[in-house]
Subunit: 482 residues, 2 copies
């Protein structure tokens, strides 16, 4: 996957090719039915085209890291809006909203006792800095967040609390939910018990000297103590030393800071529907990224997949009945779904478009990388009905199962819209590899698997078309079975 | 390979098991022949024992990184000498020698133009620091060292020269030799043409945001300009930007320094021979490591393999005819085979033991990680003879070929001894994975494949025994074939 260079002008070649293909199919007097068009979109995307790959290549190369509220994130929004206009999308606009940005600054760590060793860490998002001289203290290990919660108040005074829980590799990413509470709530629980700082074995499945960052949760509007993720080999090392009877002292240093009065923004673009333009099928992904990588798989490819899927639909001779809307959210990474700030981009969209949400017929979010989609989860309203069977017929040839249950959590960005009643779908992706890279400096373009990226575009284009070209009411109660 | 904990007391259980095994075999009045003992050593090592793994686990955990001349390297020597004594080796001694040590200090880099992006670098060993304000300049790319040499004198004034050559993955590590000249000689060639600093695509085969350090060569006693390796994804990024027509400016910063009057040391231990104790079969590996990892595969496992092989032989009821000597060299990583300092540990040994070298009958070095041995290369003197056939019979069952040629380069540490006339063998290892990790922070215990480590010990123990228990003259001219 190396050596791929973006063309200076954004390639429309492949899209033109799809258009020609569909024009030929439609040329024989009969207009193809909606399912046939979905199948053609699918096949065109599977045959390989450049829109998605060029999008993520250019975004990650020319803009690079896009932390919320940074100059780079603003540049990414300008770049994306320009590209969407050039691709022919309608109503392209940038909607800014205020945030307090967080900056990593400089960070370092080392073992001091029993012998000097440098450690690889990443400050957790929203963490305060250490004092200028750093924090030097003994590490106390806890296997889980629950175990930390058992520690007595004051028992960690003058200590650094460390959670050692390992993340489990699983196809559906279930290991993440099982481990991430340690990251979000560990700093608070450690602070309650008097700890001077918090350490976490990375919530990640790799074995590289690369730490996985991520956000710690605000309590009363702040993260109380400096909080860090350790690379997994470094966590192993500390565990071995402690198990061998050693007292382990570490030094932690961070100049993390907050930027008040910053702003982020959502980028929005439409493919207007031909019959019911006020009805919207919303495709979401986030444009911001963590600061250490270039946000290729989190979530450069998500934005690439939804843009490419919508663009394939835009290039058809016939528009779908309903509007397809692409929303590239800002400031997702530091979002706190149940915190005071909320999922900033997602909340900002749901607030600004409150009046339209009743006409948002369906929403989906791509934010789990670029590996193959293996399952589609549809709203309860259509499970067991003809729409689901049509989706299954179109997606089965590219390896997608029909999930038996509706989505439980459809994503951070569309979350506030879904809470407001918008029905959601999920295209579940293989997450076996994702959490090797997620939230690390390793999230770079070379990790994008181009063939699997194409399969994602195929599934998104076909499903989006079927939903947007239908008149199905995804909010309706499911059919009663005898 | 995680979760392995070293026992507080160095485990002798496995060695005792081997002794019992061999005692049983030898118990039936007849003394087994030399080949049978070699086969038993091989099988015992393949069956799994703890000596090698515990050695590398304890070394990398309790001592950690061991840069030449550091407190950690000295602690490693003390630790190793103590362990060797506890294991029952004879004549255990530490032989110090003076060096000028090199210290990495703090380092950082970023793209400045066309947009800010942090870069992952590693200062090359022996590099001078940058000025305190860093070096900020445009990057000029060269595909190879030879291409850099074509640049006109002065043409790189005010620029940073960068070599973009990719290292090729190959079983025998041939890709390393093809790329490493850019690292050793690139800084000098760039300085000759006026460059203010030097950048190198990492000489490594991985795709992580981890840079591969290594030594730059002295010219007139120094490296002239600050020199850095870039992680491979960062090198990709710069190449894409330049190919896309961008002018790329970077900032480089380093506080590297030199420590005059430092010292390193070799650690030596013997299993004395029963008939010809003055004749030595030398097994070498290096105890120092780069500073960012913990030197697990470079060369913790090398030291573990030769110690475990010698220990299995030591634990036999019968000593071999000749002495088996283990030499754990210091200060290999910054060694410059043809530079003024020389391969410090290797030179120090060859100098201090000059009078004995004529009685060093054979030497081998383990310094290519822990993956399986697939080929043995023997001195020309024995190729085609009975000794080679015996070696083949013993090693073929564990997947080792008999190489058709004698060793060309037997290793850095034993190099000065080999140059002084000591015959050398090679046990060639699979290097497909080695250069993903080599000279990076990723060189940690979890990368050690325990099963393959056992196969290494098996091959080393069996071959060492056969050579040490023989009276073969490895210096002799090869047999004349009709």
């Amino acid at each position: 996957m190396r050596h791929q260079l973006t063309s200076g002008v954004f390639a429309r070649r492949a899209a033109a090719l799809v258009g020609a293909l569909l024009a030929t199919a439609a040329g024989a007097a009969t207009v193809p039915d909606s399912e046939s068009i979905a199948a053609q979109l699918r096949d065109a995307a599977m045959a390989g085209h450049d829109i998605a790959y060029n999008w993520v290549s250019e975004l990650t190369t020319r803009v690079g890291p896009r932390p919320a509220g940074s100059d780079n994130e603003h540049a990414a929004a300008e770049w994306a809006a320009g590209r969407l206009k050039a691709l022919g999308f309608a109503n392209v606009r940038i909607e800014p909203f205020p945030i307090t940005a967080w900056r990593r600054g400089t960070e370092s760590a080392s073992l001091l006792t029993p012998i000097f060793q440098p450690l690889v860490i990443a400050t957790l998002g929203e963490s305060p800095p250490t004092p200028p001289q750093g924090v030097k203290a003994e590490v106390v290990l806890f296997p889980t967040l629950e175990a930390l919660k058992q520690a007595a108040p004051g028992s960690l005074s003058g200590k650094i609390a460390m959670i050692t829980q390992r993340m489990v590799r699983a196809q559906d990413g279930a290991g993440y939910a099982a481990a991430v509470a340690g990251r979000t709530d560990g700093p608070h629980e450690a602070a309650l018990r008097g700890a001077g700082a918090f350490l976490l074995r990375s919530v990640g499945t790799d074995d590289h000297r690369i730490a996985h960052t991520g956000t710690a949760r605000y309590y009363d509007g702040r993260v109380e103590i400096p909080a860090f993720a350790l690379s997994n080999p470094d966590a192993d090392q500390i565990e071995r030393l402690v198990a061998g009877g050693e007292k382990v002292r570490v030094q932690l240093f961070s100049t993390a800071s907050y930027v008040r009065g910053a702003h982020s923004q959502n980028v929005i673009a439409d493919v207007p529907g031909r019959e019911r333009p006020q009805e919207v099928v919303l495709l979401g992904a986030h444009l911001d990224s963590w600061d250490q990588g270039t946000g290729a798989i989190d979530d450069g490819t998500g934005t690439a997949i939804i843009v490419a899927a919508a663009e394939l639909i835009h290039d058809l001779r016939q528009r779908p009945r309903r509007t397809v809307r692409v929303v590239l959210y800002g400031s997702e990474e530091v979002a706190q779904p149940d915190g005071p700030g909320g999922a900033f981009g997602g909340h900002a969209y749901a607030d600004a478009h409150k009046a339209e949400l009743a006409n948002h017929v369906l929403a989906g979010e791509s934010d789990l990388g670029t590996d193959r989609i293996y399952e589609v989860a549809l709203p309860k309203s259509v499970l067991g009905g003809e729409f689901a069977q049509t989706v299954l017929r179109v997606l089965t040839p590219i390896g997608v199962l029909l999930g038996p249950r509706p989505p439980e959590d459809a994503g951070t960005d569309i979350g506030p819209s879904v809470e407001a009643g918008v029905p959601a779908f999920l295209l579940n992706q293989d997450a076996m590899r994702y959490f090797d890279i997620h939230h690390t400096p390793d999230d770079t373009l070379d990790k994008v698997d181009r063939a699997q990226l194409g399969q994602n575009v195929a599934a998104w284009a076909a499903l989006t078309w079927l939903a947007a070209d239908s008149t199905v009411d995804f909010r309706a109660a499911p059919p009663v079975r005898p």
